[in-house]
Structures are given as C-alpha cells and as structure tokens.
C-alpha cells in the first residue's frame, strides 16, 4: 500500500524531517539572537517605567555590544557579577562623568566612565542593583536595546526620553 503523497514526502528520507526541523530551529535561534526577541520583564528596579510583573519587552538585538546606544536608552545586559540579565537605563557612555552614588546620599564623588564601558542605573533608585554597586559595565555585556513594551492586548513603542535641544524647542 502506498502512503499519501505528503506523508511519503515527509517520511521518504529517514532523517529529512529531523534535518529540516534542526535547520528551522537554528534559523529561529539566530533571529532571536541577532534580530529581535520578546522577553518577560520582572522586578522592582525599573518601577515607574515597567511594572513588577506581567509585562513583556521587545528587544532589538541589533544594538548588542552597545552598538549605537545613547544616554537615556533602556538596555538589557548580562549582570557582570552573577548569572542572569537585567534591564537598566544608560546614564553614561565612555568619557562621560557620572556620580558614583545617588544624588541624595552624602557621597558626591564622580568618576569618568572608562573606554568601552557604560554606566547603567535603574529608574527606581532605592530598589535597584546597578552600576552604583558593581561599577561601570563593559559594553560587550549589553545584549540589546528595549524598543517596545508588550502588555496583554496592548503594545507601545519605547523611545529615548532625552531629546536634542533643537527638537525640544
């Protein structure tokens, strides 16, 4: 008895299906790694911008390794001291002077962000572990830039809140 033609095609070669599935998975992985991906965001460190739970973010991986990021952008980064990753806002790029601690503390020391690094801080200052704790972060640890917020039945693009002087006036 002959199989129906689509099953014959599917099962004709013993490994064809697996090879095709493998290639397809590899392509998807590359798109998620170098293109765009959507991940859940959680935690209190970015509170006014993102809720503690229940929100997804759209990440552009084309800004990985800090390519073309600017001060004010939200980035996803690999935490330098442990496993896992987080979302923070870029406050300083190489050469910028930043405060080592929050403005309300007594420590008013400043440092210059070293070459190839950036200074990232959460929006919720008291509840954020960021560059104030582990220092400047290498740009190579930046995985991508947050370009959108996804809530159930709601999507919103996220733009850099800092505007150039001409645009603002």
């Amino acid at each position: 008895m002959r199989l129906p033609s689509f099953l014959d095609r599917l099962l004709g070669h013993p490994f064809q299906t697996f090879i095709f599935a493998g290639k397809y998975l590899a392509f998807t992985h590359l798109f998620l790694e170098y293109g765009y991906s959507a991940n859940p965001a959680e935690g209190p460190s970015m509170l006014p911008t993102f809720e503690v739970l229940g929100e997804y973010i759209l990440i552009s991986k084309r800004h990985a390794l800090g390519r073309g990021v600017e001060v004010g952008d939200l980035v996803v980064y690999n935490i330098p001291t442990k496993k896992g990753n987080g979302i923070k806002r870029i406050l300083g790029l190489p050469g910028d002077y930043v405060m080592l601690q929050s403005p309300e503390t007594s420590n008013k020391a400043m440092i210059q962000v070293p070459q190839g690094h950036c200074w990232i801080v959460g929006d919720n200052l008291p509840a954020s572990r960021d560059s104030r704790l582990f220092g400047p972060v290498p740009l190579a640890l930046i995985k991508g830039k947050v370009i959108g917020r996804i809530k159930p039945f709601h999507f919103q693009w996220i733009e850099n809140p800092l505007k150039k002087v001409e645009e603002a006036s």
Binding site: P114, F134, P138
Partner: protein, 169 residues
C-alpha cells in the same frame, strides 16, 4: 535551456544557504577554528611573531565556556575596552583570590571580586588585567583547547602544566 540552468542554480544555492544558520550556530556556541593575532601570549602562542607573518591556528571550544574555570586556562573573551574585539589571555586568578598586580595597575594587591577573574598574557607586550583590572566571567566566549597549526606544536593545550595552575596569592 538557460532558464532551466538558472532554475537549477538558484535551487542549489538556496539548498546550500539553508545550512548557514546551523553553521553559524555551531561556530558561536559549540566550537570554532580561529587564527591568533599578536604577541600577547608570546612564548606559548605565536612564538615567531617577530620573525614571520605566520599565525597560530587554534580550536576554540565554546560550549559551557563560563563554567568550571580553572587557573591556567587559556580563554577568549570580549575585550572590556573594545566590545568588538575578542582577546586571548590566561586565567591567573579566580574570584576571591588576592593577586599581586604588576605596574600599570595602581595598587600592589588586588582582591578579585565576585563573578570576576584576573587574566594575564604570557608575554611582556600584553594589555591584560594589569591594564584594565579584573574582568567579568560573563565576557568569556570560549576556551582554547587545541593548537592545530603549526604542526610541530599541534596538540592539546596543557593548561594544567602552567605554574599559575597552582594557586598564587
């Protein structure tokens, strides 16, 4: 005739192109063959850097590269000063170690912080942790496990025979 040829040509082109994503995935996450530039690992890699243009061909193993790090291993990592560059150095200290740093570093003794390692090149002409400080483990992309060319030095990298494998404080 010519349309038939073009049709077959594009068919084969697309068939081979579908193998690119698995190949890229393999190179970024499993293993890669790469050429070593420069004198920073001088007596061990590129021993003839000042005599010829020949460079060493090495196998970089990338699976679980950030796990189970030991002193003496040769690792490749994204340069903290330039995210686009990948650098090869030897691990001298793991987290918690106290390292005797060399001149470009401002302090004489360094305590390697959590989630960081201290890397140094074997040669004198090396910009290593003495220059940019301890680096985050998350920057590591792979380990050099084999030298493939030149043939007289080809073989496994015996990192456990390096003196730094026994602790240095």
């Amino acid at each position: 005739m010519s349309t038939k040829f073009l049709g077959q040509f594009t068919h084969h082109l697309i068939r081979y192109a579908t193998w690119l994503p698995p190949l890229i995935l393999f190179n970024t996450h499993v293993a890669q063959v790469t050429l070593i530039n420069g004198p920073s690992m001088y007596p061990y890699l590129n021993p003839q850097y000042h005599e010829s243009l020949r460079r060493d061909l090495c196998l970089v193993f990338k699976l679980y590269a950030q796990w189970n790090l030991k002193r003496g291993m040769l690792v490749t990592f994204r340069n903290p000063n330039d995210p686009e560059k990948i650098t090869v150095k030897r691990i001298i200290g793991l987290e918690g170690d106290v390292i005797h740093a060399r001149p470009p570093y401002p302090h004489e003794y360094v305590h390697v912080p959590e989630g960081h390692i201290w890397v140094e090149g074997d040669g004198e002409k090396s910009k290593d942790s003495n220059y940019y400080g301890p680096i985050s483990v998350r920057l590591i992309t792979g380990r050099i496990t084999h030298i493939l060319s030149p043939l007289n030095r080809a073989g496994r990298v015996k990192w456990w025979e390096h003196p730094s494998h026994s602790a240095r404080a």
